[in-house]
């Protein structure tokens, strides 16, 4: 045990090590990775003090510069709450922001494990509501009703979180049978039980390397080990702007760990037949939908270019019938463009299978999905251009059902990749 603790202490930033070593134990660790203002940090600390049962809380803040002197002083005098700076490596953050943020997840989880906490919570994004209003929604279920994983449930805007809406969430629902809106957070809460199992898996090399593997394995681990999962409504999330030319890197970075977790938990998800909703805490918050006309021509063009030039690679991954359907779609003009759910689901399942079978280099495989993904986004955007919140939910429900309906196809191909090739 002492050896393990030494390893975990090493994962803390050097500036934070003396402070963290002075703390012997705590009930809750809250990691603030989002760029919050000093006032917001103060509000978060105040909100955490109102948690029932007066738990001992350690708040790890990603930037010391943001901590106001008043907050630090108040935290120093408060024996129930400690506020510690937890700087993310800036040099790494510039080179690979996703990876460095995820390394911070890992180090915060390690601290939680070392302090023997009952729960660990991460605040990674900015929401339209002040964090003080929703931080307790993530932490409270870990302490009082004793849930093991609290996933965030954001108020959806139609063109946000597309990778999650189009692949991660419906795939997770279909595989593991739990209807979770955001299986990979990024804001989340996990219990000591789940934390211990995840870190044990990580130490044994079962969860793979980086932090993304850790995030992708949270829901599979929780569901397959019969732990309690819930989701909390948090409001609308403010998404950082992204360079659309970098979509391929994003796909490779996110889907790789998702497919890897799928490979590791194959025995578990093959037993799951249907899906069920998870406990949803609090009330959903409404969000305004914009009805702006979007330009999908560029994405359709990417799809058509991929169809023309990537046949050699897609031919190794997709069955002939799917390739034929893709060819038919590529002849459609942007104003008529559509992407049937059944086809999209088969494509994702075939890519997951090719990832498992290592048909081609895994990075090449995931990056070659980009034109298909952009094609799906184009069709989705065209369909929901003027849609309201209810229509968006219905549309995503239809997609999730298509994933569930297509699961026997995945199971058959997974079990008999050579024999079952339509």
């Amino acid at each position: 045990m002492s050896e393990v603790r030494t390893v975990e202490a090493d994962s803390a930033p050097p500036q934070a090590r003396p402070s963290i070593e002075q703390i012997e134990s705590a009930d809750l660790v809250v990691g603030i990775l989002a760029d919050l203002s000093p006032d917001e940090v103060t509000e978060v600390c105040d909100a955490l003090r109102t948690l029932p049962g007066k738990p001992r809380i350690v708040v790890l803040q990603n930037s010391a510069a943001n901590a106001s002197p008043e907050v630090s002083e108040a935290a120093e005098q408060d024996s129930a709450l400690s506020l510690l700076p937890w700087p993310v490596d800036v040099q790494n953050a510039t080179a690979a922001p996703v990876e460095s943020a995820l390394a911070a997840y890992q180090s915060i989880f390690s601290v939680g494990d070392r302090l023997g906490v009952r729960g660990c919570c991460i605040i990674a994004s900015k929401l339209e509501h002040a964090p003080s209003k929703w931080v307790c929604r993530l932490t409270e279920p870990l302490l009082v009703p004793d849930f093991d994983f609290v996933a965030p449930c954001y108020a959806r805007r139609k063109f946000e979180g597309l990778l999650n809406n189009g692949i991660i969430s419906p795939l997770t629902r279909s595989l593991y049978g739990k209807r979770i809106q955001n299986p990979m957070g990024p804001d989340l809460g996990i219990s000591q039980r789940l934390l211990g199992r995840i870190l044990a898996g990580d130490r044994n090399g079962k969860a793979g390397g980086g932090g993304m593997h850790l995030l992708a394995s949270l829901v599979p681990k929780a569901v397959c080990e019969n732990l309690l999962v819930c989701q909390a409504y948090l409001g609308a999330r403010i998404y950082p702007p992204m360079d659309w030319t970098d979509v391929s890197s994003l796909l490779a970075e996110i889907l790789g760990p998702v497919f890897l977790a799928m490979e590791k938990n194959a025995a578990c998800w093959q037993r799951t037949r249907t899906s069920s909703p998870v406990v949803a805490l609090n009330e959903p918050l409404p969000v305004m939908q914009t009805t702006a006309i979007v330009d999908i021509a560029r994405m359709v063009n990417s799809f058509q270019l991929g169809n023309r030039d990537l046949q050699e690679i897609w031919g190794l991954v997709l069955p002939p019938a799917t390739l034929l359907d893709i060819r038919k779609l590529s002849r459609l003009a942007p104003e008529q463009f559509q992407f049937p759910d059944e086809l999209w689901v088969r494509i994702i399942y075939d890519f997951a299978l090719a990832y498992h079978l290592r048909t081609i280099n895994r990075d090449h495989l995931l990056r070659s999905l980009t034109p298909l993904y952009l094609g799906w986004v184009a069709a989705y955007a065209r369909e929901l251009e003027t849609a309201e919140a209810a229509e968006i939910e219905q549309r995503l429900e239809r997609l999730s059902l298509a994933y569930e309906t297509g699961k026997p196809y995945l199971v058959s191909r997974w079990r008999w990749p050579d024999r079952f090739n339509p």
Partner: protein
């Protein structure tokens, strides 16, 4: 007269039979060496194949980014390819040992020079194999990257890159084999120099305005300008 003819015939027959008899042990040795090497090759190939399978060689190769080797390996298994190469090498060695058993100066010197050349052949094969794998890998990387950047000439770029790597590998292999070293070096220098020069001319003359605009756009770009794109993927 007739006696002299008879004597000459007897002498030539005796000489032929004597030479044949002196060659016979060598011939038998060649056959024995070949049979033994075939047997050894078969056993070693099985052992190598089993060891590689137990090491999950095919999966490891794919992990190292060399998954394309499976595509041109027999039955899609690089382990099988390695075991077959080892078997062929053992049979070739057995053949050379058999030839050396003739014990004539000519065969000995021939075998010696062949053995001296073997490292060059092996080196060339290795260079060519690595070159082929690398060419395919780089070609695919360029193709996928260019398509994802929406470049209309992605395929051309990919094929060009693939063949550049292949030409480089072939030139290196020929240098290893010591075949027309001077010509290969000269031809390769001219080819690569020509490509670089033509690219420089194309950029310098043909696409001057395009490059200027591109550089201006990059230098004048405001830092972290928020995108107007309404889509948020993650």
């Amino acid at each position: 007269m007739w006696n002299q003819v008879k004597q000459a015939l007897q002498l030539s027959t005796t000489g032929f039979v004597t030479r044949l008899a002196s060659l016979l042990p060598g011939l038998i040795a060649l056959i024995v060496a070949l049979v033994i090497s075939l047997l050894l090759a078969w056993i070693v190939a099985i052992v190598v194949r089993r060891v590689l399978k137990s090491m999950r060689f095919d999966e490891r190769l794919a992990d190292w980014g060399l998954s394309s080797t499976a595509e041109w390996s027999p039955r899609g298994s690089p382990a099988l390819l390695v075991s077959e190469i080892v078997a062929i090498a053992i049979i070739a060695a057995g053949l050379l040992i058999g030839i050396a058993a003739f014990n004539s100066d000519m065969t000995t010197s021939m075998v010696r020079s062949i053995f001296a050349y073997v490292p060059n052949i092996l080196g060339a094969i290795l260079v060519l194999l690595v070159g082929m794998v690398l060419a395919r890998f780089v070609g695919r990387s360029v193709l996928i990257g260019a398509v994802n950047l929406n470049l209309g000439y992605a395929r051309l770029l990919s094929v060009g890159t693939k063949w550049l790597v292949m030409v480089l590998a072939i030139a290196m292999a020929l240098v290893h084999l010591r075949i027309a070293v001077g010509i290969v070096e000269l031809a390769f220098g001219i080819l690569f120099g020509g490509i670089v020069l033509s690219l420089a001319l194309a950029v310098g003359l043909g696409s001057k305005d395009l490059v200027t605009k591109s550089l201006e756009r990059d230098t004048n770009r405001p830092p972290a300008e928020p995108l107007k794109e309404p889509f948020r993927h993650l």
